[in-house]
């Protein structure tokens, strides 16, 4: 099938783009004589990173755990909350504003409190990742659940099925494309979430390492750490996208209708 080949081709372009960016960066640092503590050359970042791989890997492992658990929690709780908000008027009027408020309160400011309340363990980190990333899921899911065509809802209701079944068979599949935009935004946020949690409430992990490196003005290692956490975030994002591809093969945005919009190459 062409799909596999297309994915490979896609990835070639992506790789090329990133390679180009790194090349320009390397060259610019060289040409402009930028000091390494301001912006290290990518080559230096790489060398340093490989040189201290064990430390970095340790940190990455420590960070991965709260990031993944927090994200999964965000997906589960986010969808659940969205359900309550979308289908119950009283929840919409009481719970939703609280959720919005929860989202808006800068978690980074309250993070230290978490540490005091929950100690230095996994819990405060998971909670922070969760709090930082659940909201996009709620918002997109609420919007998705509430915008199913009335025609389709009528068709479903006419079968005499209860709201539960209507949800599973109609609203959920219909909502998936929008839902996944929320999942993706959240996935992208969860790396930041884990890092922030470790800045303020942890004694291990990449965020923790990063604080140390920047404190010592070890910019190459700081960049290496940022690179690794970003790659972890990207991996999660890519995984969510892969699931999306499998879960919604039918969506309009994936149909390869023959001509694109007129005027587009």
């Amino acid at each position: 099938m062409g799909a596999v080949r297309r994915i490979v081709l896609d990835h070639w372009k992506v790789v090329a783009t990133f390679a180009a960016i790194f090349a320009i960066w390397e060259f610019a640092v060289l040409a402009l004589g930028v000091k390494p503590y301001i912006l290290p050359k990518p080559s230096v970042v790489m060398t340093q990173m490989f040189a201290r791989m064990p430390t970095i890997l340790d940190g990455a492992l420590a960070t991965l755990q709260p990031m993944l658990i927090g994200y999964v929690l965000a997906v589960a709780v986010g969808v659940l909350l969205a359900l309550l908000v979308a289908f119950s008027q009283s929840f919409r009027e009481t719970l939703y504003p609280v959720i919005v408020f929860l989202q808006i309160v800068p978690k980074i400011a309250v993070a230290p409190l978490f540490l005091i309340w929950f100690g230095y363990g996994l819990l405060p980190k998971v909670l922070l990742v969760f709090l930082l990333s659940f909201f996009p899921i709620v918002v997109s899911a609420v919007s998705a659940f509430r915008s199913v065509d009335t025609d389709i809802i009528d068709l479903a209701r006419a079968t005499g099925a209860g709201p539960g079944r209507i949800f599973w068979k109609v609203q959920l599949p219909h909502a998936l494309p929008t839902l996944f935009t929320g999942f993706k935004v959240s996935a992208a946020l969860s790396a930041t979430g884990a890092l922030v949690a470790e800045f303020v409430a942890s004694d291990r992990g990449l965020g923790y390492l990063l604080v140390g490196y920047s404190n010592n003005l070890d910019t190459p290692m700081a960049f290496a750490t940022i690179l690794v956490i970003s790659i972890m975030g990207l991996a999660l994002y890519a995984a969510v996208e892969a699931v999306e591809r499998i879960a919604i093969p039918w969506h309009v945005s994936r149909r390869n209708t023959e001509p694109e919009l007129s005027g587009n190459p």
Partner: protein, 261 residues
């Protein structure tokens, strides 16, 4: 399944605007009866379908199914909506099986039946396609097959043959008649075709323009099957003319002028 409408009315409201769609409709449909409804566009036929099926509450009056008031959809009906309303994300076959799943029945028990129905409506080859790959008429046929898969005791069909070509339409009509004769389901059949109404039904309900009221109810006493030859019977002609006359009496056809300059 028997149905009674008592003084049923429906008004749609949005903001300050109101559309009076149905007004004082009284109608009884006996168990096993085939009733056709004809009436001008916008007279409230689809509204009536939504009221009967429990999808929409009536503004006034009362709707009884088997003597009990309708409060919500029961799932005992097979409904063909005016638009095909297929689920984008399901193949044609799975659109049929949707009915089965929604009723909590076992899919496996119905796949053979689904394929059989698809064959009957000429979509056997398209069972694994998605709705966007179908033509207009094919979508409608898919919707018809879907309304039958769970073998409902009552059928409500809103212009089911509207998007079909003359021949397919005729074939579907014959199939429906045969089905009815074999099973004696209660059928409510909304159509724009006077021919179809007369050829299929025990009684034709003729409705007046908005706000929709029942203008006349005409019993059709023709022997069955009426098949292809039905059109030639004098009874058919008489009733068709009667309905046409009702329509004509409301508005005079003008050998109209097209849109201006």
């Amino acid at each position: 399944m028997s149905i009674s409408l008592r003084n049923v009315g429906k008004t749609y409201r949005r903001g300050g605007m109101a559309t009076h769609a149905l007004d004082r409709v009284d109608l009884d449909i006996a168990e096993g009866e085939f009733v056709a409804i004809v009436g001008p566009s916008g007279c409230g036929k689809s509204t009536l379908l939504r009221l009967l099926s429990g999808l929409l509450p009536a503004s006034t009056g009362e709707i009884l199914v088997n003597g009990a008031p309708v409060t919500k959809p029961s799932g005992e009906m097979g409904i063909v909506f005016q638009a095909p309303v297929l689920l984008d994300w399901r193949s044609v076959r799975d659109n049929l099986l949707f009915q089965v799943e929604m009723r909590g029945l076992k899919k496996a028990d119905y796949t053979a039946r689904a394929d059989d129905l698809l064959r009957r409506v000429g979509l056997a080859e398209f069972a694994d396609r998605y709705p966007y790959e179908l033509s207009g008429g094919m979508r409608q046929r898919c919707a018809i097959a879907r309304s039958l898969i769970h073998d409902p005791v009552m059928l409500i069909m809103d212009e089911p043959f509207g998007a079909l070509d003359a021949l397919t339409r005729e074939q579907m009509r014959l199939d429906l008649e045969a089905l009815w004769m074999a099973t004696r389901k209660t059928v409510l059949f909304i159509t724009h075709s006077i021919d179809e109404a007369v050829l299929l039904s025990d009684r034709v309900v003729v409705m007046s323009p908005r706000p929709g009221r029942i203008e006349r109810i005409i019993p059709v006493a023709m022997p069955r099957p009426r098949g292809l030859e039905g059109r030639k019977s004098p009874e058919f002609m008489r009733i068709s003319d009667e309905i046409t006359d009702i329509f004509l009496s409301r508005g005079v056809l003008t050998a109209g002028v097209g849109a201006g300059p």
